[in-house]
Amino acid sequence: MIVASPLQPLEDLLRHVLNALHSVGLPWAWSIVGLTIIVRMLLVPLTVKQIHSMQNMQAHAPQMKEIQRKYKGDRTKLNEELMKFYKENNINPAASCLPLLAQLPVFIGLFYTLRHFAKNPPGGQAAIDRGDFSWLHFVPDITKHANSHWSGYVLLTIYVLSQVASTYFMSGTMQKSQRYLMMILPIAFIPFILRFPTGLVLYWMTTNLWTVGQGLITRRLIPKVGPPGGPGDSGPKRSSRTPPKGPPPGGAEAAEAAEATPAPKPNNAAPRRVKRKKKARR
């Protein structure tokens, strides 16, 4: 509760959105999925910048590999050299901590909102008996603990798989040992998650699947970036990996369109890119 109270306005807001989704006609379970997707969609602008810089990193991969080869034995030195290299080449390494932390209150708020929702289901027992809280005909009641019905284990399995997959996509530059730890952790959390209401597992599953989807889109588009200074370089680089509700820069351009027209089209990002490339060539 100590953690929750400063988040009360956020929770109220989320609860209103959840109620609104339900009153539009979505069943409660789908309202949770919808709410999760809305939250993730609103967070997309934060991640788009990261994705763009990830492409930039990809373009400079050969040089980075060279550095990695040079300082293979010394991890600290290697990291330092890599970071210096990013700086010299104006590369934004993919992840930065602040956008990640921006998600934190939202996720905590969503967590509390859904937990409160599951503990005090609107309509009470009558609504539960009516099947208002069932999902896809195989989850009888999303307000019950995940281990109360076999369907909870199914969701849990999907959750673990999606967690591992999302970790896989998010941890491109991570050290191997760290990566394994990140993949093992969700399994360590299972005993706790079993006691969560199924609706929360549903939310977690959705948010992970969203991450996986984002990762897949990112992955598919990254290899299209040519080597730095290459002729087709500027085209695919500016291609949009922005899901529907992305921010304006490069948002409208479809990936295919960018591929078809490698000639640079002026847009917001263009001048900066040119500068960057010049620096890389030197």
Partner: protein
């Protein structure tokens, strides 16, 4: 007192960090490592301020790079 801060960072690393989909920090050392260093070197309050300032700098519009807690310029 400063080890409360260090413990908090470790708690974050093992609970919330995996759920946020953490990649790698753009700075070296990473923000959480920076926070631990800052706590150890400057104590709880200064450490918290330094770590907070570092987090604010670790945004999509900054460039990252090598940045040790001991090289900080906030407190002289």
């Amino acid at each position: 007192m400063r080890y409360v801060g260090v413990a908090a960072v470790w708690a974050y690393r093992f609970t919330l960090a995996p759920f946020l989909g953490v990649g790698q920090c753009k700075y070296h050392p990473s923000c959480s490592q920076y926070a631990i260093d800052a706590y150890k070197e400057f104590g709880f309050f200064k450490g918290t301020l330094l770590a907070g300032w570092r987090l604010l700098r670790c945004n999509p519009w900054s460039r990252g790079g090598v940045d040790y807690a001991r090289d900080q310029k906030v407190f002289k």
